[in-house]
Amino acid sequence: MIERWQIYKVPLGLVYPGRVPVRVPFQLDNDAPFALRGRSIGITESAGGRGSPNTNSQQFVSQLWTRFSDSSEHWNAGEVIPSYIDMPGGGVGAPGQVYPEKSYPGGAILQTDVFNDGSVDPTNPVEAFLYYHGVKLYPNGNYGQTYPLKSQPKPYSMTLPGPGKTLTIQVTDRIFSWALQVPASFDYAFRGGVLGFMNVPEGQNLPGFRNLSVVVKDNQQRSYMNAPCHVYHVFGCPGSQGTATTANFLEGTFNPGLFVPELYVPGNQYLFFDFERADAGLGLGAVNIQIVFAGSKVVRG
């Protein structure tokens, strides 16, 4: 059995405060069973309208309560439970554990109940998303590329956009299939990554982006996720470093995003990345991003 990293992003729609829990059915892909191992939750941040003038996502996430079912409609809890209990901090970078894992056959229906208690904003709805983290299960032979029998690994970090390149993402932007090629001289095992940006003026108390999503795809452009997922839920949430005079959410690696299992990419092959940003009206500017991947180079022989 081959495991392949997979994230299902389930849109929960607009969740109004104080109403009865909304039930959201979601059909998983037909091509393979899915083993669910973690969950995280996020919202679309906006400057009013569907959201609220306050654009702090953590505050809004904390007012959401959820539960989910397996394919036989057995629920993980008798009633919805606060997300801040089973997905602390929204679960960005460190998804709330589902242990032991729950298995779903291909094409199964996964149901989610969501409730908005309105404790932060009792008036406006929030547009919420649940991310189900786990692995797809394939028979041996598919997606089976791995270490050669004779090989020597070394610690190594690859970067995106890559040496000498700049990846600028505008306030409203779509970038398709940004290619990251593993050099011919070695294979590379991607085990995780941290995304950040590097052109915010010193001391400016603004994040570089709010609604930046990514799709990671393999060498055949087969996606590891069903829809663009917020980068915090794939690459972890910034916020580990800051001072009284600089914003504490500018920096990376508070919880680095992990790819489980690792993505083994032979030399000369690619990973592709789609980026989608929707930050119009939030007073933000273009950002230069960098992703630093953690992993090993694997030299054959």
Partner: protein, 157 residues
Amino acid sequence: MAYRPQRLVTIPEGWNAEPFIVPVVASDVNQGNAILAGLEYKSIPIPMDRDFDFWLLGFAYSCPQNIDSLGFRLRDSWGNYLSDDYCAAAFYALPAGVNPAIGGGYAPVVEPPLYCPHGSVLQLDVKNLLAVGGPAYVWGNMELRGFKVVPIGACAA
């Protein structure tokens, strides 16, 4: 299940692994002065002690400034780069879960562990990744964390 080799360091009989830290402090880089935007300093030597071999397990970087744009890359004892480009320290080397006020956190892991023979030299390149005219940064402090392999009874330091 996906195959993933676990490569552990084998300690010879009669020897012991003693935790050890190699510090790279601010004064080691540009003599502690600010690094202007766009400038880089290459091949800063990080000498290993001459007594015993060192195995690098992880590194941790801390800086009192906003250092999202200060990048670095390391070279091993044989001159091989450990990354394909400058990596922003904030995305590469800050301990996960660090509290800005009190420090702590988990050092980013070097996997597999990196062998550094005694007396060899690692090299550090540092660059301010901002375009010319941007803010200048002072290198903070970095720890290379790992262990020395010493005869039982000897002290790593």
